[in-house]
């Protein structure tokens, strides 16, 4: 209709997209349209592949195709007339798949026929020779390149792996080094100076005044050659000790007969084997301990030699190289030597005499070490600390010397009077005296059977004093004859003997004195035994003397004598026993038993014939009985008539 103004009509296509949601402010969100692949997937789901077109039955070549073609022709003819709506978009896909299946079936048939080789045979197709060469070289080069890249990748990977393994090992060794360092620090003093770790193995912090520095260095041992196998005792930590403390040392103390030749001094080469290390201890520990021992031995020897030179004594001490010689007793020599072997090679210096059995006194070496450590400890005692704090270090009592006006005698009494050397000489003297006493007693015991010697050594002794109880008994009569009991106190230079009856005798260090004394005691014992036996047997003791003044003079001690009379008084036995002269036994008979009776007018009464008359000696050696007391008992029994 015309006439009016044109009305603008806007035409909008219908919204192809579906509205998913309308927001509160009016905006519409559309469902996003399907993409191509999604569309394809949706359509593909509607195809039913199992149901093909009716013309396809089996895989024979031409027929279905022909049939299809024939079908398609009328279809196409039909199609020219009108558009076939039944031709759905998947038709071409279906046709292609079907032709592919046909082709596959044909191939399968051909191959099965060819396999039988009866109806069909395969013939190689001759190739153009010119076309082959250059591709082969190219092939080689390309293969080589690809192999090369593959190999490089593998090599890179292997390198990374080996690097990480090496790093792990390095880390572990570092950790091992640190843990070893921790263990070392728990036992030894360490400090860090610059980039070095130094340690102190001297006794200075324990009170020593020896000027040796005693510093050792800790070395890291972690950069090893990885190809070489690790040694058995590998330790990531190593210590370097000062060169003069290497090897091992000990102080040899021995007592010998005085060497006639002085030229032999200073050549002590006897060395004992180093002690076996405990399993599980680290090498550095063993090394450090050995070095510390060497240092202590050096300090002990330095102190001893200093004292040997300074202290005045009656017989001067000789200090030669590594040996100190002194004379504790005449004819005897005490040698203290520092034996230090660096362990490089054994010293084959020929000594003139054969290797002696080890006469090293371990006890004295141990005592030397102990005394040194005690000296150290004294340096650190709190007696030295000053009160008030500003005063200098020094012994507490010496500080009083000024205000209390001590004189020289008091001051000298405060100072240490005995040094290490004097103490060790005293100990050596005592040890020697004790061993010689034991030897004397043992030799007497083995030599003399009749009175038996028993020695009971006390278990607890002092360094300067020991004691032994000596009993002299007769076998079988221990309960009766026990009057000789001696207590010997062996000191440094003398032996003090305390008798059971209270006598105290002091013997010198001479061996002969002790032997003579014991022999005299043994002879006294026999006489005492007769006295005791007489009591038991009922005989009466008429006289007894320990030191008889009659008869031959003994060179050792004195002879003793006893006279006992029988119960009825008829017989009497007199015994005289001396250490040298042996024993002499006389028996006194009654007058009535003597052969010759002097006729006399003086004696009127017959009863006087019962008195004891002359005496006769007994052949003691022919007497029966295993020891003196037994013989005596038999004699007494023989002389006691039965009632």
């Amino acid at each position: 209709m015309s006439g009016g103004p044109a009305v603008r009509v806007s035409i909008e296509s219908t919204c192809e997209k579906q509205v998913q949601e309308v927001a509160l402010d009016g905006t519409e969100t559309y469902v996003p349209p399907l993409s191509m692949s999604q569309n394809l997937a949706k359509l593909a789901q509607r195809i039913d592949f199992s149901q093909g077109s009716d013309s396809e039955e089996d895989g024979i070549d031409g027929k279905p195709r022909d049939r299809e073609w024939t079908k398609q022709e009328p279809e196409e003819e039909e199609g020219t007339v009108k558009f076939q709506p039944s031709l759905w978009p998947w038709d071409s896909v279906r046709n292609n798949l079907r032709s592919a299946l046909t082709e596959m079936c044909v191939l399968h048939d051909v191959l099965s026929v060819v396999k039988e080789k009866k109806y069909m045979a395969l013939d190689p197709v001759s190739q153009d020779p010119t076309a082959g060469k250059t591709p082969q070289v190219f092939q080689l080069i390309s293969k080589k390149k690809s192999l090369g890249t593959a190999a490089q990748l593998l090599l890179k990977g292997a390198e990374k792996l080996s690097k990480s393994v090496a790093e792990n090992m390095e880390n572990r060794r570092q950790r091992d080094f640190n843990s070893e360092l921790l263990r070392l620090r728990s036992q030894w003093k360490l400090r860090k100076v610059g980039d070095k770790i130094l340690g102190d193995l001297s006794y200075r912090s324990a009170g020593s005044l020896f000027p040796h520095h005693g510093t050792f260095e800790v070395i890291k041992n972690t950069d090893l050659d990885l190809d070489k196998k690790l040694p058995e005792d590998y330790c990531p930590l190593d210590v370097q000790i000062p060169s003069d403390l290497e090897g091992s040392a000990y102080i040899k103390v021995s007592i010998q007969k005085q060497a006639p030749d002085i030229g032999d001094l200073g050549t002590v080469t006897l060395f004992r084997r180093p002690p076996k290390t405990k399993a599980g201890t680290q090498q550095w520990h063993v090394k450090l301990e050995a070095a510390q021992n060497v240092l202590l031995c050096k300090e002990i020897f330095a102190q001893l030699s200093r004292e040997a030179v300074q202290i005045k004594s009656q017989i001067p001490h000789i200090v030669v190289k590594n040996q100190i010689i002194s004379q504790p007793f005449p004819g005897l020599q005490l040698s203290i030597s520092l034996c230090h072997s660096t362990g490089e090679k054994k010293n084959h210096r020929a000594t003139p005499d054969k290797p002696k059995p080890d006469d090293h006194l371990y006890v004295l070496e141990h005592n030397l070490h102990q005394m040194m450590r005690e000296f150290h400890k004294q340096q650190l005692s709190s007696v030295v600390m000053p009160h008030p704090a500003s005063a200098p270090f020094g012994h507490k009592r010496m500080r009083l010397a000024g205000p209390m006006a001590y004189d020289k005698a008091e001051i000298t009494s405060l100072q240490h009077n005995e040094g290490l050397l004097e103490k060790i000489i005293k100990q050596a003297k005592h040890i020697f005296l004790r061993s010689r006493t034991a030897r004397t007693i043992d030799s007497l015991a083995s030599r003399i059977e009749d009175p038996q010697i028993q020695a009971h050594w006390s278990n607890i002794n002092d360094v300067f004093e020991s004691s032994v109880k000596v009993l002299i008994t007769s076998q079988g009569y221990e309960q009766i004859c026990k009057s000789i009991q001696l207590q010997l106190n062996i000191g440094v230079e003398q032996i003090r003997v305390v008798h059971r009856d209270g006598r105290v005798v002091t013997l010198s260090h001479q061996e002969q004195e002790l032997q003579d004394f014991l022999l005299s005691q043994m002879s006294q014992h026999q006489v005492h035994a007769v006295q005791q036996l007489a009591k038991v047997m009922g005989w009466h003791v008429l006289s007894f003397s320990n030191h008889v003044g009659l008869g031959p003079v003994e060179s050792i001690g004195n002879a003793s004598a006893v006279t006992v009379a029988s119960p009825n008084g008829e017989y009497a036995i007199s015994v005289r026993n001396g250490p040298e002269s042996g024993c002499k036994v006389l028996v006194q008979f009654p007058r009535s038993q003597t052969k010759e009776l002097p006729k006399s007018d003086v004696i009127q009464d017959a009863k006087w014939s019962h008195l004891r008359g002359p005496s006769k000696e007994v052949h003691w050696s022919k007497m029966e009985g295993r020891n003196f007391v037994y013989k005596m008992e038999l004699l007494m029994a023989a002389l006691t008539p039965c009632p």
């Binding site: 650190l380 600390m385 009160h387 008030p388 704090a389 500003s390 200098p392 209390m404």
Partner: protein, 209 residues
């Protein structure tokens, strides 16, 4: 009867020629425990020793400017110990490279009548204080960690008041004159105490304003 001759020559031997090498530092109260642990580990292996001392400083004013100072010290924890009288000379102005303060030092032990004696000689007490703390030893070196307290009533050592919240640390060695080897050892020892306490050479003459 004539009095025996008195020598006019000065005494040169014995204890007259001892030099004191000194390094000083201080720590706060909180740091005391760790310092004591460290010293216990570094120094000689002994039981830790504590002390309480009472020190009196005597002055003799002469005609010249500088008075003569003597220090008398006694132990309150060990009352029977003798008094200790000390003279400290001027610090030696030797080479600057020396690490410790060096001064002449004379130490004398005295009986308990020392204060009266000094008074009779003409000395007057300038000040007194109480010091208590710990004392350590390493070889010849002495390390004293002390807390100083002021005495409020003169003569009464019970009533004291702490002067500061820190402890004074002193490292000293007494050696005969001429021996200079100790300063190196002192320096290396001071190095080992480094992060806890800085021991250095403090010149007392430079302290006075």
């Amino acid at each position: 009867m004539e009095a025996p001759q008195v020598t006019v020559m000065p005494v040169t031997g014995g204890t007259i020629n001892m030099m004191e090498y000194l390094l000083q530092g201080s720590v706060f109260d909180q740091a005391l425990e760790s310092l004591l642990h460290r010293l216990r580990g570094l120094c000689d292996n002994m039981e830790p020793e504590t002390f309480t001392d009472h020190e009196l400083v005597y002055l003799l004013k002469g005609q010249q400017g500088n008075p003569f100072i003597l220090r008398a010290r006694r132990s309150l924890s060990h009352p029977t110990s003798p008094w200790h009288l000390r003279y400290l000379g001027q610090p030696e102005v030797g080479d600057k490279s020396r690490h410790a303060l060096v001064r002449n030092c004379v130490d004398v032990a005295a009986s308990h009548s020392l204060p009266e004696f000094l008074n009779e000689m003409g000395f007057r007490m300038d000040h007194e204080f109480v010091a208590n703390g710990h004392i350590f030893r390493k070889g010849a070196m002495k390390i004293v960690v002390s807390k100083l307290s002021r005495i409020l009533v003169p003569g009464n050592t019970e009533n004291t008041e702490r002067l500061s919240l820190s402890f004074l640390v002193e490292l000293s060695v007494l050696a005969p004159a001429g021996q200079d080897t100790m300063s190196e050892d002192m320096r290396s020892f001071a190095e080992q105490l480094k992060p806890l306490v800085h021991l250095e050479k403090i010149d007392p003459s430079k302290q006075r304003h």
